[in-house]
Protein backbone atom coordinates (compact mmCIF):
# COMPACT_ATOMS: atom_id res chain seq x y z
CA UNK A 1 0.00 0.00 0.00
CA UNK A 2 1.22 3.47 -0.84
CA UNK A 3 0.74 6.46 1.31
CA UNK A 4 -1.05 9.46 -0.09
CA UNK A 5 1.85 11.59 1.16
CA UNK A 6 4.32 9.63 -1.01
CA UNK A 7 2.87 11.09 -4.18
CA UNK A 8 1.22 14.20 -2.81
CA UNK A 9 3.78 16.66 -1.53
CA UNK A 10 1.13 18.89 0.03
CA UNK A 11 0.34 16.15 2.53
CA UNK A 12 3.89 15.66 3.70
CA UNK A 13 4.70 16.60 7.27
CA UNK A 14 8.13 17.98 8.19
CA UNK A 15 10.20 14.82 8.68
CA UNK A 16 11.49 15.88 12.09
CA UNK A 17 7.94 16.16 13.36
CA UNK A 18 6.95 12.90 11.74
CA UNK A 19 9.72 11.04 13.50
CA UNK A 20 8.92 12.74 16.78
CA UNK A 21 5.30 11.61 16.53
CA UNK A 22 6.31 8.08 15.59
CA UNK A 23 8.72 7.93 18.52
CA UNK A 24 6.04 9.17 20.91
CA UNK A 25 3.48 6.63 19.66
CA UNK A 26 5.95 3.76 19.84
CA UNK A 27 7.15 4.75 23.29
CA UNK A 28 3.57 4.83 24.53
CA UNK A 29 2.81 1.42 23.03
CA UNK A 30 6.00 -0.04 24.48
CA UNK A 31 5.34 1.30 27.93
CA UNK A 32 1.63 0.63 28.12
CA UNK A 33 1.23 -2.56 26.10
CA UNK A 34 4.53 -4.34 25.54
CA UNK A 35 5.90 -3.89 29.04
CA UNK A 36 2.90 -5.56 30.80
CA UNK A 37 2.92 -8.42 28.31
CA UNK A 38 6.66 -8.90 28.72
CA UNK A 39 6.34 -8.69 32.50
CA UNK A 40 3.80 -11.51 32.55
CA UNK A 41 6.04 -13.76 30.49
CA UNK A 42 9.18 -12.80 32.44
CA UNK A 43 7.59 -13.36 35.85
CA UNK A 44 6.27 -16.73 34.70
CA UNK A 45 9.50 -17.96 33.17
CA UNK A 46 12.39 -16.23 34.93
CA UNK A 47 12.74 -19.06 37.43
CA UNK A 48 12.99 -21.49 34.54
CA UNK A 49 10.66 -23.51 32.39
CA UNK A 50 10.38 -26.41 34.89
CA UNK A 51 9.00 -24.08 37.57
CA UNK A 52 6.47 -22.77 35.05
CA UNK A 53 5.38 -26.27 34.04
CA UNK A 54 5.23 -27.33 37.66
CA UNK A 55 2.97 -24.38 38.44
CA UNK A 56 0.71 -25.21 35.51
CA UNK A 57 0.47 -28.87 36.50
CA UNK A 58 -0.74 -27.96 39.98
CA UNK A 59 -4.10 -29.82 40.41
CA UNK A 60 -6.03 -26.65 41.27
CA UNK A 61 -4.58 -24.92 38.23
CA UNK A 62 -5.48 -27.83 35.98
CA UNK A 63 -9.00 -27.75 37.43
CA UNK A 64 -9.26 -24.04 36.66
CA UNK A 65 -8.11 -24.64 33.08
CA UNK A 66 -10.71 -27.38 32.66
CA UNK A 67 -13.44 -25.18 34.08
CA UNK A 68 -12.49 -22.23 31.89
CA UNK A 69 -12.62 -24.42 28.80
CA UNK A 70 -15.96 -25.86 29.90
CA UNK A 71 -17.54 -22.44 30.50
CA UNK A 72 -16.33 -21.21 27.12
CA UNK A 73 -17.50 -24.40 25.43
CA UNK A 74 -21.04 -23.67 26.60
CA UNK A 75 -21.09 -19.87 26.39
CA UNK A 76 -19.54 -19.51 22.93
CA UNK A 77 -22.02 -21.75 21.03
CA UNK A 78 -24.97 -20.15 22.83
CA UNK A 79 -23.74 -16.70 21.86
CA UNK A 80 -23.05 -17.89 18.34
CA UNK A 81 -26.70 -18.85 17.90
CA UNK A 82 -28.00 -15.74 19.64
CA UNK A 83 -25.57 -13.50 17.76
CA UNK A 84 -26.48 -14.90 14.35
CA UNK A 85 -30.20 -14.61 15.13
CA UNK A 86 -29.81 -11.03 16.33
CA UNK A 87 -27.67 -10.06 13.34
CA UNK A 88 -30.07 -11.74 10.90
CA UNK A 89 -33.07 -9.90 12.33
CA UNK A 90 -31.31 -6.54 12.58
CA UNK A 91 -29.20 -6.54 9.43
CA UNK A 92 -31.47 -8.26 6.92
CA UNK A 93 -34.87 -7.04 8.04
CA UNK A 94 -36.63 -3.81 8.86
CA UNK A 95 -38.97 -3.62 11.78
CA UNK A 96 -40.15 -1.18 14.38
CA UNK A 97 -37.88 -0.99 17.40
CA UNK A 98 -34.81 -2.10 15.52
CA UNK A 99 -32.72 0.76 16.89
CA UNK A 100 -33.77 -0.17 20.41
CA UNK A 101 -32.89 -3.81 19.94
CA UNK A 102 -29.50 -2.77 18.56
CA UNK A 103 -28.83 -0.59 21.60
CA UNK A 104 -29.95 -3.36 23.94
CA UNK A 105 -27.35 -5.68 22.45
CA UNK A 106 -24.66 -3.21 23.46
CA UNK A 107 -25.89 -2.98 27.04
CA UNK A 108 -23.62 -5.74 28.44
CA UNK A 109 -20.57 -3.88 27.13
CA UNK A 110 -21.35 -0.68 28.98
CA UNK A 111 -22.47 -2.28 32.23
CA UNK A 112 -19.78 -2.89 34.85
CA UNK A 113 -18.77 -6.57 35.00
CA UNK A 114 -19.51 -6.52 38.71
CA UNK A 115 -23.07 -5.39 38.02
CA UNK A 116 -23.32 -8.10 35.35
CA UNK A 117 -22.51 -10.69 37.98
CA UNK A 118 -24.63 -9.10 40.66
CA UNK A 119 -27.84 -9.26 38.62
CA UNK A 120 -27.63 -13.06 38.62
CA UNK A 121 -26.91 -13.19 42.34
CA UNK A 122 -30.00 -11.07 42.93
CA UNK A 123 -32.05 -13.35 40.69
CA UNK A 124 -30.79 -16.81 41.60
CA UNK A 125 -28.83 -16.35 44.86
CA UNK A 126 -30.03 -17.52 48.25
CA UNK A 127 -31.39 -14.03 48.93
CA UNK A 128 -32.50 -13.56 45.32
CA UNK A 129 -35.98 -13.49 43.79
CA UNK A 130 -35.88 -17.14 42.75
CA UNK A 131 -33.54 -18.28 45.54
CA UNK A 132 -36.11 -19.97 47.80
CA UNK A 133 -37.79 -21.70 44.87
CA UNK A 134 -34.44 -23.04 43.65
CA UNK A 135 -33.36 -24.09 47.13
CA UNK A 136 -36.52 -26.13 47.59
CA UNK A 137 -35.64 -28.05 44.48
CA UNK A 138 -31.98 -28.26 45.40
CA UNK A 139 -30.86 -26.46 42.25
CA UNK A 140 -27.63 -24.53 42.61
CA UNK A 141 -26.94 -21.72 40.17
CA UNK A 142 -24.94 -19.17 42.12
CA UNK A 143 -21.53 -20.36 43.37
CA UNK A 144 -21.83 -23.10 40.75
CA UNK A 145 -21.28 -23.72 37.06
CA UNK A 146 -24.68 -22.50 35.76
CA UNK A 147 -24.23 -19.05 37.29
CA UNK A 148 -20.72 -18.73 35.85
CA UNK A 149 -21.96 -19.76 32.44
CA UNK A 150 -24.86 -17.30 32.63
CA UNK A 151 -22.61 -14.43 33.69
CA UNK A 152 -20.17 -15.28 30.91
CA UNK A 153 -22.95 -15.41 28.31
CA UNK A 154 -24.19 -12.03 29.56
CA UNK A 155 -20.79 -10.39 29.28
CA UNK A 156 -19.93 -11.83 25.86
CA UNK A 157 -23.38 -11.58 24.30
CA UNK A 158 -22.70 -8.57 22.03
CA UNK A 159 -19.57 -9.65 20.18
CA UNK A 160 -20.88 -12.00 17.47
CA UNK A 161 -23.79 -9.72 16.61
CA UNK A 162 -21.62 -6.59 16.66
CA UNK A 163 -19.09 -8.01 14.22
CA UNK A 164 -21.76 -9.49 11.95
CA UNK A 165 -24.23 -6.60 11.71
CA UNK A 166 -22.08 -4.04 9.84
CA UNK A 167 -20.86 -6.51 7.22
CA UNK A 168 -24.28 -8.14 6.77
CA UNK A 169 -25.90 -4.75 6.29
CA UNK A 170 -23.27 -3.65 3.82
CA UNK A 171 -23.89 -6.79 1.76
CA UNK A 172 -27.58 -5.97 1.47
CA UNK A 173 -30.25 -8.52 0.64
CA UNK A 174 -29.67 -8.97 -3.09
CA UNK A 175 -28.15 -12.41 -2.75
CA UNK A 176 -30.82 -13.54 -0.30
CA UNK A 177 -33.50 -12.40 -2.75
CA UNK A 178 -31.74 -14.20 -5.57
CA UNK A 179 -31.70 -17.34 -3.42
CA UNK A 180 -35.45 -16.93 -2.84
CA UNK A 181 -36.22 -16.68 -6.55
CA UNK A 182 -34.15 -19.83 -7.04
CA UNK A 183 -36.33 -21.70 -4.57
CA UNK A 184 -34.07 -21.74 -1.52
CA UNK A 185 -35.66 -21.99 1.94
CA UNK A 186 -34.60 -20.21 5.10
CA UNK A 187 -31.99 -22.70 6.21
CA UNK A 188 -30.39 -23.01 2.77
CA UNK A 189 -30.25 -19.25 2.43
CA UNK A 190 -28.62 -18.81 5.82
CA UNK A 191 -26.19 -21.71 5.61
CA UNK A 192 -25.24 -21.49 1.95
CA UNK A 193 -25.50 -17.78 1.16
CA UNK A 194 -25.56 -15.37 4.11
CA UNK A 195 -23.17 -16.98 6.58
CA UNK A 196 -20.50 -17.97 4.02
CA UNK A 197 -20.57 -14.36 2.80
CA UNK A 198 -20.03 -13.06 6.31
CA UNK A 199 -17.74 -16.00 7.07
CA UNK A 200 -14.60 -14.25 8.20
CA UNK A 201 -16.48 -11.70 10.28
CA UNK A 202 -18.36 -14.54 11.91
CA UNK A 203 -15.11 -16.29 12.70
CA UNK A 204 -13.73 -13.10 14.18
CA UNK A 205 -16.84 -12.64 16.29
CA UNK A 206 -16.49 -16.15 17.65
CA UNK A 207 -12.81 -15.59 18.33
CA UNK A 208 -13.51 -12.41 20.27
CA UNK A 209 -16.35 -14.05 22.18
CA UNK A 210 -14.05 -16.89 23.12
CA UNK A 211 -11.25 -14.61 24.27
CA UNK A 212 -13.60 -12.58 26.46
CA UNK A 213 -15.36 -15.69 27.75
CA UNK A 214 -12.13 -17.31 28.87
CA UNK A 215 -10.79 -14.08 30.32
CA UNK A 216 -13.85 -12.72 32.11
CA UNK A 217 -13.05 -11.82 35.68
CA UNK A 218 -15.43 -9.40 37.38
CA UNK A 219 -18.78 -10.96 36.56
CA UNK A 220 -17.62 -14.52 37.09
CA UNK A 221 -15.86 -13.56 40.32
CA UNK A 222 -19.14 -12.26 41.75
CA UNK A 223 -21.17 -15.38 40.95
CA UNK A 224 -18.53 -18.06 41.48
CA UNK A 225 -17.62 -17.84 45.14
CA UNK A 226 -14.09 -18.79 44.05
CA UNK A 227 -14.11 -22.25 45.51
CA UNK A 228 -10.69 -23.71 44.79
CA UNK A 229 -10.70 -26.63 42.42
CA UNK A 230 -14.45 -26.27 41.94
CA UNK A 231 -15.66 -22.86 40.79
CA UNK A 232 -12.33 -21.33 40.00
CA UNK A 233 -11.67 -20.27 36.44
CA UNK A 234 -8.19 -19.27 35.27
CA UNK A 235 -8.59 -15.51 35.81
CA UNK A 236 -9.97 -16.16 39.29
CA UNK A 237 -7.12 -18.52 40.00
CA UNK A 238 -4.65 -15.79 39.06
CA UNK A 239 -6.18 -13.62 41.77
CA UNK A 240 -6.07 -16.36 44.41
CA UNK A 241 -2.45 -17.23 43.72
CA UNK A 242 -1.53 -13.55 43.62
CA UNK A 243 -3.18 -12.97 46.99
CA UNK A 244 -1.26 -15.94 48.37
CA UNK A 245 2.00 -14.34 47.18
CA UNK A 246 2.62 -17.30 44.83
CA UNK A 247 3.90 -14.97 42.12
CA UNK A 248 5.31 -17.69 39.85
CA UNK A 249 2.04 -19.59 40.08
CA UNK A 250 -0.08 -16.51 39.44
CA UNK A 251 2.03 -15.42 36.50
CA UNK A 252 2.19 -18.91 35.04
CA UNK A 253 -1.60 -18.99 34.76
CA UNK A 254 -1.54 -15.36 33.63
CA UNK A 255 0.99 -16.29 30.94
CA UNK A 256 -1.35 -18.96 29.58
CA UNK A 257 -4.12 -16.37 29.37
CA UNK A 258 -1.75 -13.87 27.78
CA UNK A 259 -0.89 -16.53 25.23
CA UNK A 260 -4.60 -16.85 24.47
CA UNK A 261 -4.73 -13.08 23.92
CA UNK A 262 -1.71 -13.14 21.62
CA UNK A 263 -3.14 -16.03 19.59
CA UNK A 264 -6.41 -14.12 19.33
CA UNK A 265 -4.60 -11.04 18.04
CA UNK A 266 -2.57 -13.03 15.53
CA UNK A 267 -5.71 -14.70 14.21
CA UNK A 268 -7.43 -11.34 14.06
CA UNK A 269 -4.67 -9.86 11.92
CA UNK A 270 -4.76 -12.92 9.69
CA UNK A 271 -8.53 -12.72 9.29
CA UNK A 272 -8.37 -9.01 8.51
CA UNK A 273 -5.83 -9.63 5.79
CA UNK A 274 -8.04 -12.34 4.30
CA UNK A 275 -11.04 -10.03 4.44
CA UNK A 276 -9.11 -7.22 2.76
CA UNK A 277 -7.82 -9.56 0.08
CA UNK A 278 -11.34 -10.74 -0.58
CA UNK A 279 -12.79 -7.24 -0.64
CA UNK A 280 -9.98 -6.27 -3.01
CA UNK A 281 -10.98 -8.72 -5.75
CA UNK A 282 -14.69 -8.61 -5.02
CA UNK A 283 -16.87 -6.17 -6.87
Amino acid sequence: MRLAADTRPALRDPSGIAWLLIAAALAWILLLLVLPLATVLWEALHKGLPRFLEAVKEPDTLASIRLTLLVAAIAVPVNLVLGVAMAWAIAKHEFRGRAMLTALIDLPISVSPVVSGLVFVLLFGAQGWLGPWLQERDIKIIFALPGMVLATIFVTLPYVARTLIPIMRRQGVDEEEAAATLGAGAWTTLARVSLPNAGLALLYGVLLTNARAMGEFGAVSVVSGSIRGETNTMPLHVEILHNEYDEVGAFSVAALLALLAVVTLVLKVWLERRMQARAGVGG
Binding site: A5, L33, L82, L107, L118
Partner: protein, 286 residues
Protein backbone atom coordinates in the same frame (compact mmCIF):
# COMPACT_ATOMS: atom_id res chain seq x y z
CA UNK B 1 -43.50 -15.86 5.01
CA UNK B 2 -45.67 -12.87 5.56
CA UNK B 3 -46.92 -12.12 2.09
CA UNK B 4 -50.28 -10.58 2.71
CA UNK B 5 -52.16 -8.44 0.27
CA UNK B 6 -54.64 -7.59 2.96
CA UNK B 7 -53.62 -4.56 4.94
CA UNK B 8 -53.98 -1.35 2.99
CA UNK B 9 -51.75 0.57 5.37
CA UNK B 10 -48.47 -1.04 4.49
CA UNK B 11 -46.36 -2.77 7.10
CA UNK B 12 -47.07 -2.20 10.73
CA UNK B 13 -44.30 -4.02 12.53
CA UNK B 14 -42.11 -5.92 10.11
CA UNK B 15 -41.53 -4.77 6.57
CA UNK B 16 -42.42 -7.68 4.29
CA UNK B 17 -39.46 -9.08 2.40
CA UNK B 18 -38.42 -12.15 0.45
CA UNK B 19 -35.64 -12.74 2.99
CA UNK B 20 -36.96 -15.60 5.12
CA UNK B 21 -37.16 -16.43 8.79
CA UNK B 22 -37.65 -13.05 10.37
CA UNK B 23 -40.01 -14.48 12.96
CA UNK B 24 -37.60 -17.21 14.04
CA UNK B 25 -34.58 -14.91 14.23
CA UNK B 26 -36.48 -12.16 16.00
CA UNK B 27 -37.99 -14.67 18.39
CA UNK B 28 -34.62 -16.17 19.32
CA UNK B 29 -33.05 -12.72 19.66
CA UNK B 30 -35.77 -11.35 21.90
CA UNK B 31 -36.06 -14.50 23.98
CA UNK B 32 -32.28 -14.65 24.45
CA UNK B 33 -31.93 -10.97 25.28
CA UNK B 34 -34.83 -11.13 27.70
CA UNK B 35 -33.56 -14.19 29.52
CA UNK B 36 -29.91 -13.20 29.65
CA UNK B 37 -29.99 -9.42 29.90
CA UNK B 38 -33.38 -7.86 30.46
CA UNK B 39 -34.88 -10.01 33.21
CA UNK B 40 -31.70 -10.09 35.33
CA UNK B 41 -31.37 -6.31 35.05
CA UNK B 42 -35.00 -5.86 36.04
CA UNK B 43 -34.28 -8.13 39.01
CA UNK B 44 -31.52 -5.71 40.00
CA UNK B 45 -33.72 -2.64 39.69
CA UNK B 46 -36.49 -4.31 41.69
CA UNK B 47 -34.03 -5.27 44.39
CA UNK B 48 -32.75 -1.72 44.50
CA UNK B 49 -36.28 -0.44 44.81
CA UNK B 50 -37.24 -3.08 47.38
CA UNK B 51 -36.17 -0.92 50.33
CA UNK B 52 -36.99 2.44 51.83
CA UNK B 53 -35.54 5.53 50.24
CA UNK B 54 -33.60 6.14 53.42
CA UNK B 55 -31.83 2.80 53.30
CA UNK B 56 -31.26 3.15 49.54
CA UNK B 57 -29.69 6.56 50.04
CA UNK B 58 -27.70 5.40 53.04
CA UNK B 59 -26.03 2.81 50.84
CA UNK B 60 -25.91 4.59 47.49
CA UNK B 61 -24.96 8.03 48.79
CA UNK B 62 -22.89 7.26 51.87
CA UNK B 63 -19.62 9.20 52.11
CA UNK B 64 -17.76 6.02 51.23
CA UNK B 65 -19.92 5.44 48.15
CA UNK B 66 -19.59 9.07 47.07
CA UNK B 67 -15.81 8.82 47.39
CA UNK B 68 -15.91 5.64 45.29
CA UNK B 69 -17.99 7.31 42.56
CA UNK B 70 -15.66 10.30 42.58
CA UNK B 71 -12.69 8.00 42.08
CA UNK B 72 -14.37 5.78 39.44
CA UNK B 73 -15.77 8.63 37.39
CA UNK B 74 -12.86 11.01 37.95
CA UNK B 75 -10.12 8.54 37.12
CA UNK B 76 -12.14 7.22 34.17
CA UNK B 77 -12.57 10.76 32.85
CA UNK B 78 -8.88 11.60 33.18
CA UNK B 79 -7.87 8.28 31.65
CA UNK B 80 -10.26 8.81 28.73
CA UNK B 81 -8.81 12.28 28.26
CA UNK B 82 -5.27 10.91 28.07
CA UNK B 83 -6.51 8.22 25.69
CA UNK B 84 -8.16 10.88 23.55
CA UNK B 85 -4.85 12.67 23.03
CA UNK B 86 -2.65 9.58 22.70
CA UNK B 87 -5.29 7.73 20.68
CA UNK B 88 -5.49 10.45 18.05
CA UNK B 89 -1.69 10.66 17.96
CA UNK B 90 -1.29 6.89 17.55
CA UNK B 91 -4.05 6.68 14.93
CA UNK B 92 -2.36 9.48 12.98
CA UNK B 93 1.01 7.79 13.14
CA UNK B 94 -0.39 4.39 12.12
CA UNK B 95 -2.41 5.76 9.21
CA UNK B 96 -0.11 8.45 7.87
CA UNK B 97 3.43 7.14 8.32
CA UNK B 98 5.31 4.02 7.31
CA UNK B 99 8.02 2.82 9.66
CA UNK B 100 9.50 -0.50 10.76
CA UNK B 101 7.23 -2.27 13.23
CA UNK B 102 4.10 -0.45 12.16
CA UNK B 103 2.05 -3.61 11.57
CA UNK B 104 3.11 -5.07 14.90
CA UNK B 105 2.25 -1.84 16.69
CA UNK B 106 -1.11 -1.80 14.92
CA UNK B 107 -1.86 -5.38 15.98
CA UNK B 108 -0.84 -4.67 19.58
CA UNK B 109 -3.39 -1.87 19.95
CA UNK B 110 -6.11 -4.47 20.51
CA UNK B 111 -4.21 -6.15 23.35
CA UNK B 112 -6.34 -4.54 26.07
CA UNK B 113 -9.44 -6.00 24.35
CA UNK B 114 -7.98 -9.49 24.20
CA UNK B 115 -5.95 -9.67 27.40
CA UNK B 116 -8.02 -10.84 30.37
CA UNK B 117 -8.40 -7.96 32.81
CA UNK B 118 -7.01 -9.95 35.72
CA UNK B 119 -3.79 -10.57 33.78
CA UNK B 120 -3.49 -6.88 32.99
CA UNK B 121 -4.16 -6.17 36.65
CA UNK B 122 -1.40 -8.37 38.09
CA UNK B 123 1.05 -7.23 35.41
CA UNK B 124 0.41 -3.51 35.98
CA UNK B 125 0.51 -3.98 39.75
CA UNK B 126 3.90 -5.68 39.48
CA UNK B 127 5.29 -3.04 37.16
CA UNK B 128 4.07 -0.13 39.27
CA UNK B 129 4.88 -1.61 42.69
CA UNK B 130 7.64 0.30 44.55
CA UNK B 131 10.10 -2.44 43.54
CA UNK B 132 8.69 -2.87 40.02
CA UNK B 133 10.32 -1.71 36.81
CA UNK B 134 8.40 1.56 36.53
CA UNK B 135 7.56 1.86 40.21
CA UNK B 136 11.28 2.10 41.08
CA UNK B 137 11.76 5.02 38.72
CA UNK B 138 8.73 6.79 40.10
CA UNK B 139 9.84 6.07 43.65
CA UNK B 140 13.16 7.79 42.93
CA UNK B 141 11.14 10.94 42.33
CA UNK B 142 9.16 10.32 45.48
CA UNK B 143 6.00 9.26 43.66
CA UNK B 144 4.06 6.15 44.58
CA UNK B 145 2.08 4.63 41.71
CA UNK B 146 0.65 1.35 42.92
CA UNK B 147 -1.93 1.22 45.70
CA UNK B 148 -2.94 4.85 45.14
CA UNK B 149 -5.54 6.58 42.93
CA UNK B 150 -2.71 7.03 40.41
CA UNK B 151 -2.65 3.23 40.03
CA UNK B 152 -6.37 3.25 39.25
CA UNK B 153 -5.75 5.87 36.61
CA UNK B 154 -2.92 3.84 35.04
CA UNK B 155 -5.06 0.70 34.78
CA UNK B 156 -7.90 2.68 33.18
CA UNK B 157 -5.54 4.23 30.64
CA UNK B 158 -4.46 0.71 29.71
CA UNK B 159 -7.93 -0.71 29.16
CA UNK B 160 -9.19 2.40 27.33
CA UNK B 161 -6.36 2.68 24.81
CA UNK B 162 -7.94 0.86 21.84
CA UNK B 163 -11.23 2.78 21.75
CA UNK B 164 -10.06 6.14 20.41
CA UNK B 165 -7.44 4.58 18.11
CA UNK B 166 -9.94 2.19 16.55
CA UNK B 167 -12.70 4.75 16.00
CA UNK B 168 -10.37 7.42 14.60
CA UNK B 169 -8.26 5.14 12.38
CA UNK B 170 -10.88 4.33 9.68
CA UNK B 171 -12.11 7.93 9.50
CA UNK B 172 -8.58 9.20 9.08
CA UNK B 173 -7.89 6.61 6.39
CA UNK B 174 -11.04 7.60 4.50
CA UNK B 175 -10.29 11.29 4.60
CA UNK B 176 -9.95 12.58 1.07
CA UNK B 177 -6.41 13.83 0.42
CA UNK B 178 -7.88 16.48 -1.87
CA UNK B 179 -9.27 18.31 1.14
CA UNK B 180 -5.81 18.82 2.57
CA UNK B 181 -4.46 19.74 -0.84
CA UNK B 182 -7.19 22.32 -1.21
CA UNK B 183 -6.20 23.81 2.14
CA UNK B 184 -2.57 23.94 1.04
CA UNK B 185 -3.51 25.60 -2.25
CA UNK B 186 -5.43 28.20 -0.30
CA UNK B 187 -2.20 29.09 1.40
CA UNK B 188 -2.62 27.32 4.74
CA UNK B 189 0.49 26.11 6.52
CA UNK B 190 0.73 22.39 7.27
CA UNK B 191 0.03 23.07 10.93
CA UNK B 192 -3.02 25.12 10.08
CA UNK B 193 -4.25 22.46 7.66
CA UNK B 194 -3.95 19.74 10.29
CA UNK B 195 -5.51 21.73 13.12
CA UNK B 196 -8.25 23.45 11.14
CA UNK B 197 -9.10 20.84 8.52
CA UNK B 198 -8.03 17.37 9.60
CA UNK B 199 -8.67 17.49 13.33
CA UNK B 200 -12.21 18.87 12.99
CA UNK B 201 -12.94 16.11 10.49
CA UNK B 202 -11.91 13.38 12.92
CA UNK B 203 -13.34 15.11 16.00
CA UNK B 204 -16.69 13.24 15.99
CA UNK B 205 -14.89 9.91 15.79
CA UNK B 206 -12.47 10.92 18.53
CA UNK B 207 -15.32 12.00 20.79
CA UNK B 208 -17.12 8.72 20.15
CA UNK B 209 -13.95 6.87 21.13
CA UNK B 210 -13.61 9.05 24.20
CA UNK B 211 -17.16 8.22 25.30
CA UNK B 212 -16.63 4.50 24.76
CA UNK B 213 -13.34 4.55 26.69
CA UNK B 214 -14.95 6.53 29.51
CA UNK B 215 -17.96 4.21 29.73
CA UNK B 216 -15.73 1.15 29.81
CA UNK B 217 -13.43 2.65 32.44
CA UNK B 218 -16.22 3.69 34.81
CA UNK B 219 -17.28 0.08 35.34
CA UNK B 220 -13.85 -1.55 35.08
CA UNK B 221 -12.98 -3.95 37.86
CA UNK B 222 -10.46 -6.68 37.08
CA UNK B 223 -7.49 -4.64 36.00
CA UNK B 224 -7.98 -2.05 38.75
CA UNK B 225 -8.34 -4.01 41.97
CA UNK B 226 -4.83 -5.45 41.87
CA UNK B 227 -3.13 -2.10 41.53
CA UNK B 228 -5.50 0.14 43.49
CA UNK B 229 -4.74 -0.93 47.05
CA UNK B 230 -8.47 -0.66 47.67
CA UNK B 231 -8.35 1.65 50.69
CA UNK B 232 -11.88 2.87 51.52
CA UNK B 233 -12.38 6.59 50.82
CA UNK B 234 -9.04 6.76 48.99
CA UNK B 235 -8.47 4.11 46.36
CA UNK B 236 -11.68 2.08 46.41
CA UNK B 237 -13.60 2.08 43.13
CA UNK B 238 -17.39 1.85 42.95
CA UNK B 239 -17.58 -1.69 41.48
CA UNK B 240 -15.35 -2.92 44.29
CA UNK B 241 -17.66 -1.33 46.85
CA UNK B 242 -20.49 -3.42 45.38
CA UNK B 243 -18.40 -6.55 45.90
CA UNK B 244 -17.57 -5.48 49.45
CA UNK B 245 -21.27 -5.05 50.25
CA UNK B 246 -22.01 -8.40 48.66
CA UNK B 247 -19.37 -10.11 50.78
CA UNK B 248 -21.13 -8.70 53.85
CA UNK B 249 -24.43 -10.08 52.52
CA UNK B 250 -25.76 -6.52 52.24
CA UNK B 251 -27.70 -7.29 49.08
CA UNK B 252 -29.89 -4.20 49.27
CA UNK B 253 -26.88 -1.93 49.62
CA UNK B 254 -25.08 -3.69 46.78
CA UNK B 255 -28.17 -3.33 44.59
CA UNK B 256 -28.50 0.35 45.49
CA UNK B 257 -24.93 1.15 44.41
CA UNK B 258 -25.32 -1.06 41.35
CA UNK B 259 -28.49 0.86 40.38
CA UNK B 260 -26.53 4.10 40.42
CA UNK B 261 -23.82 2.51 38.27
CA UNK B 262 -26.45 1.03 35.95
CA UNK B 263 -28.11 4.40 35.49
CA UNK B 264 -24.75 5.91 34.57
CA UNK B 265 -24.11 3.07 32.10
CA UNK B 266 -27.49 3.60 30.46
CA UNK B 267 -26.88 7.31 30.02
CA UNK B 268 -23.44 6.62 28.54
CA UNK B 269 -24.91 3.89 26.34
CA UNK B 270 -27.52 6.24 24.91
CA UNK B 271 -24.89 8.91 24.27
CA UNK B 272 -22.41 6.56 22.66
CA UNK B 273 -25.11 4.84 20.57
CA UNK B 274 -26.23 8.22 19.24
CA UNK B 275 -22.63 9.18 18.50
CA UNK B 276 -21.90 5.90 16.76
CA UNK B 277 -25.03 6.19 14.63
CA UNK B 278 -24.02 9.67 13.56
CA UNK B 279 -20.55 8.43 12.76
CA UNK B 280 -21.92 5.57 10.64
CA UNK B 281 -24.21 7.91 8.76
CA UNK B 282 -21.34 10.25 8.03
CA UNK B 283 -19.26 7.26 6.98
CA UNK B 284 -22.02 6.22 4.58
CA UNK B 285 -22.13 9.69 3.07
CA UNK B 286 -18.44 9.70 2.32
Amino acid sequence: MSATAASASGWRFHRPTAVPAFGTAFGIAVAGLSAIVLIPIIALVLKGADQTWASFAAAAFSPRALAAYRLSFGAAFLAALVNLVMGVLIAWVLVRYRFPGRRLADALIDLPFALPTAVAGVALATICAPNGSVGQVAAAFGIQLAFTPVGVFIALVFIGLPFVVRTVQPVLADLEPEVEEAAALLGASRWRTVTRVVLPAIAPAAMTGFTLAFARAVGEYGSVIFIAGNKPMISEIAPLLIVVQLEQYAYGAAAAIACVMLAASLVLLVISAAMQRRLEREGADR
